[in-house]
Symmetry: C2
Subunit: 379 residues, 2 copies
Amino acid sequence: MKITCQSPVNIAVIKYWGKENVELNLPTNGSISVTLSMEHIKTITCVESNEQIKQDSLVLNGELVEIPGRMKLVIDKMRNIAIRCGNRQIKYKSESPLESPADPRHFITIKSRNTFPTAAGLASSASGYSCLVYCLSLLYHLDAYLTRTELSEFARLGSGSSCRSLFPGLVEWHLGDSSSTSVADSICDSWEDLDILVCIVKSEKKKVGSTVGMQQTVKSSALFKHRVEGMPAKLETMKRAIIAKDFETFANLTMADSNQFHAVCLDTFPPIIYLNEDSRWFIEFVHEYNRMAGETAVAYTFDAGPNPVLYMRSKYTGDVVRLLKQLVDVTKFKSIRDFNECVTIVNELGENIPKTNIPVEIIHAKCGAGPSLCKEEGI
Amino acid sequence: MKITCQSPVNIAVIKYWGKENVELNLPTNGSISVTLSMEHIKTITCVESNEQIKQDSLVLNGELVEIPGRMKLVIDKMRNIAIRCGNRQIKYKSESPLESPADPRHFITIKSRNTFPTAAGLASSASGYSCLVYCLSLLYHLDAYLTRTELSEFARLGSGSSCRSLFPGLVEWHLGDSSSTSVADSICDSWEDLDILVCIVKSEKKKVGSTVGMQQTVKSSALFKHRVEGMPAKLETMKRAIIAKDFETFANLTMADSNQFHAVCLDTFPPIIYLNEDSRWFIEFVHEYNRMAGETAVAYTFDAGPNPVLYMRSKYTGDVVRLLKQLVDVTKFKSIRDFNECVTIVNELGENIPKTNIPVEIIHAKCGAGPSLCKEEGI
């Protein structure tokens, strides 16, 4: 019995940084993200289960690797639930293509592949764990007993922010006050007018990983607790902006929160510095573009790495791409739409935004769907 | 009648960033700095006054420039005090070489020169205004009526941090609650065991000047007010460390405060980013060096620019210089001591600190004296 699914990456607009409980991946604050459409960036995972399989195994991007401790935990939790659910009344209609659930006492083979470099600074663990949890939920028909929000607890146990990748559109990971309440939920399913450009300036492996980095911040940053204190109000404002499709507020909060996240990283001791001069170029580009456009047309956000993700109203996307092609060395542009007949909106930028030779790979996405079944090809 | 003086640069270890009152240069928090010895970095100013001079004028680094508004204010304030003091009882012995004070109703010619690039990120306004105020105090014998701390108010009106350059050693600029109480004072006159390496990685002019930048921070950074709240305790800890010559605490607080200052810059909207990849290299170098040395041997601090200033216990200076010469492109090294027979302490650093081709000019200094009379040569 075999299930193959795809699951999206999500990019936070209000960032998760800091664990209240390391073992359970309970965060110090709630967070909000955008789920990216899967044309160019996603994880595909195939889980197979049958009597013949002699032990659990994981093939990641074509390489047989040991199953990480957290993944074992997630698999065991879901198996245990599956065993217990065996006798219960079905609550929902399962989306599983399997007529009956797999036997959770059998071993499984997991094959998983990301369509982007693992260390590109994109949250491969988010798409990865959400994909695994979604696969297992269909394999064991757990979605007949548990809501998507309830399933998101398992993803969170694997990798905090992956709970958000189980939902389409704009998603909140609630702070909660326990493992079962610190779960994800949809704010809205889509934002048609939103375009996303993931700009990869460097694929170098992070010097300080998120898990270690955020614990150092919690421990040593004097400013961090004030960031946390301000979070409930910020999350509320952001949710209202998203529901109202108020791009201006959404964009400004997104940029300010990214800056604040990197500020508390810098306030960590020793400091954690993820932004580099390429990042700074993009920050200045966006502010200058908005100034010339006469409104907040574009927003940037940076996760734990130097790569900017740009959010923009779709009428600006062609114009932004055209300018980027003029100003930086766009080595690859993976689009999902044709921009050839775009109207020029901002003719040129001020001299503070010089032409540079930064090599940038740009991946275009929209606000996308959550995990779904897919074909096994090429894993 | 003519007075020529030299005045030092000071480098804050607890930073001034944010004005409570822009007109009066009253800060949002107190600050502490180290006064640098003047072998290689200083301002030399010559002020001349006589009946023949037909108007006030300023020659800055050889160029006739308009006298800035704030400088006019400082000059006028000091002239007015001089006029009023004319009839009063002398309180202290003046250090002036002039037997009688110049007539404050005469115009003056100011010639001033910095021995370092104005835009190097070093506080040229600090040495500049302190030098001018010191010159005028001797020209008008104001030091017969006012203490150095009282004189520091005039320097502050010109450029906030310049009030600290009127004192030797380690200096506090008190927050105060009025123009006459927000003044500077010595914490201790010297720290024999302290060496300072000013590392100039770039002389490019700042994109965001301090005055504009700090007002943007006050206005837009959510974290800034929490930095200010934490200041009184931090200043107390720092003062105690300085008095006890506790380098460990001094160094860690210095680094943490520099990081926090740059954190609130990054939390500003739009963000202000002074640190670049060269800065980051030095930050990582220092933490790695300290790790290898087994104690906090070196500290970094960055003002509103990318240039690191390193403080260290003097037994490490030769070793740090030797390593820097191996690892970066030291284009110039202006020393005040011979390091040829230095003992190697840290043999080599981990692979996280790669050899790079960053061009760096290094200027060596000690904790130094305040302003003093000097010869006019070469202004």
